[in-house]
Amino acid sequence: MTATRAPARSGPVTRRPRPAARLLRLELRHNAMLWMMPVAVALFWFTAERKTLATPPLWSLRAAGMQLSAVVAFASPVAGAAAWMGSRESRRRTTDLVNITARPRPGRLLATWAATTCWALVAYLACLAVVYGVTAQQAAWGGPLWWPAVVAAACLPALTALGFAAGTLVPGRFTAPLVALAAFFVLALSTQLIHGSQSYWQISPVVTGAWDIGPDPGVATFYAYLPDLPIAQVMFLLGLTAAVLGALTLPTGSGLRSLRRSAVAITTAGLVVAGTAVALAGTGRLDAHGMIAIPALHDAASDRPLRYTPVCSHTAIPVCLNPAYASYLPATEAALAPMLDQIAGLPGAPARISQTPATYRQGPGNSVGIGLAGSSISGAPPVLHLLLPVQLPGPALTAGELAGQLRSITGPSIIASVTGDGPGASEAQHAVTTALLMAARVVPSHLPSPQTPTAGNGGPPPGAGAGGERYVGSAPGSPGFAVAQRFAALPAAVRRGWLTQHLAALRAGRISLGQLP
């Protein structure tokens, strides 16, 4: 036999994928989450379309609503699918078969978990892209808030890790449904335990701010979105994921000793990070701008107001709004114009009406006081600070509903701030305010209570006016009402002339009912 030298094989060299990548690719192709994606997306869309996308196009509202909807909609399908994948080896009776393969058990498990997480993230990112894409087209001002998106994204690996661990450790036909429903139960109903802004339970990824206010249109519009709570939530979720995955590789027969040491280290580190995050969440407090501030994570630069160029109306007294609320300007202008015509140019009347941020104050339990900080009129020339009803938590208002509240509450409050009307004012002040409203053809629907509106367990607050002075007016049938009717019937020039001359005295309470023309 003659030995011959075989020539070196020439030709294209195909690079085989690394075993880990090949395993991941196989797991991606044979993963239950792939088939669960339409379910998760449909559930998200079912709530998001009606709830999140039905809110006014403000980034703060849409981002917070998206976080809540995504976490709740994805919880059951993702955790259930992960549990189903975790119990696969037991279901198919291949545990012994795969235990003798060259791949260590942690690697196999992590590949399955990673594939499940990947599909969950793909589905979530698709939903996120749609919600943010639609919002970007509709929003008049501002940009995407990424922290809520990151929190919801960080929730998915934690859900898959918990579900996968349950399926691996306790395989059985009841495991996947139990995990799916437990995930929903814990996420949707654990918030019952939140009491006030200093609650450890705020670590739940469904919490986007002060609980029971919910996504609030007045938050993160005048001031930057505070990432304090989202940072703590992401820390908790990543720590939880690491701890669960690390613990999953701890049981005996999991491979090399170094691998076990690494698993112990990862589990410990994960628990420490998650515990720290919970402790940090417990130190949170509701700040004046309606967001949860955590002192250890707080950046003082976030407290500075955002710069913006207001959009103003062409009324007798310009009404200037934050550009994020630009879509409400036509309704605001139409509702307030008749009343502003009555007071424009009078001594003490505002030269401009400017939308201002609401101030938040933690009340007992989960209640939150919301109102204006300081006086409603300040500066020279005087500027009246306006709180739009849409800045307050509660059901989203249509343009017609907003206009109705402005006409019946905010407008009369603006006139009252000029006449000095209020609970302690004179009969003449009540009568003049009523007369000016009659002249503007406005009939207030109700008398607002003098207390600061409160949101909390009792539900959303009533629409608030400009704050400060409140309209009281003259009751129908009273002598003041008759005087008001007489005063309103005067020619506009006569009425204005009298007011220009006597408004200061009227405000000081030196004009009696009988002195009115």
């Binding site: 079912f46 709530t47 259930g80 189903w84 009776r93 036909r173 139990l178 949707a188 109903l189 019952q192």
Partner: protein, 228 residues
């Protein structure tokens, strides 16, 4: 040996060591017991009891409006998922071919478990403020069980939980919209309707009847290489 010869063989006289024919009633009981064991019916009953206990414990706590309304629905869904989990067969095709009593066993097991679940959850709510009351429990549980049974017949016995788990979210959202308008008023989302709503009861009953009929006639779908 020909067929005729085989037929001519006399029956073996029953002796002390020969297998005895069991009485029909005892055989029926044994068959039901074997069926229940193979479908993990005892575990399902334990799960239902755990749901009832969990609901009872939860109802002793303080819940706001959101929680009080949605809490029973979660436990009803969990009980329904436990019932549908018994639809999967560990024996597959051989049992399907040879077991002529299977449809009756499936029907009996499903109806019995549903009745047990309704009774257990209603009993758990006795003396407490159970939102919706017993009628709500019966309607929701029956309807969600029907969804799970339909999933068992169409997707797989092991994955039948997808239906109840997925329905929980629109169901809870329908409850949420009762005070956050616009309300979802379709009777197909029966958890959001009042307990005496006829349309919702008809829809839930229809889904339950369809699910029971399909699972009785066809049984759960088996996935290849999967052990239930």
């Amino acid at each position: 040996m020909t067929t005729g010869e085989a037929r001519a063989v006399p029956a073996v006289a029953a002796g002390p060591g020969a297998p005895r024919r069991t009485a029909p009633s005892r055989a029926g009981v044994r068959l039901a017991r074997l069926y229940a064991t193979s479908r993990r019916v005892p575990a399902a009953v334990a799960a239902i009891a755990a749901c009832a206990l969990g609901l009872r414990l939860a109802l002793t706590g303080h819940w706001d409006t959101y929680g009080a309304l949605q809490l029973p629905l979660v436990f009803e869904t969990a009980a329904a998922a436990a019932i549908t989990a018994t639809a999967a067969s560990p024996l597959g095709e051989p049992e399907r071919v040879t077991g002529r009593w299977l449809p009756y066993l499936r029907l009996a097991a499903t109806l019995a478990l549903t009745a047990v679940a309704i009774g257990a959850l209603a009993a758990a709510g006795t003396g407490t403020h159970l939102a919706g009351g017993t009628l709500d429990v019966a309607r929701n549980l029956a309807g969600i069980t029907g969804i799970g049974l339909l999933c068992a017949a169409t997707i797989s016995g092991g994955l039948a939980w997808i239906g109840p788990a997925a329905f929980l979210i629109p169901g809870a959202y329908a409850l949420y919209t009762q005070w956050h308008h616009p309300a979802l008023t379709t009777p197909w989302l029966w958890p959001g309707r009042p307990p005496h709503d006829l349309g919702a009861a008809i829809c839930a009953g229809l889904v339950f009847a369809t699910g029971v009929a399909v699972i009785t006639a066809r049984g759960a779908r088996d996935l290849p290489d999967e052990q239930a």
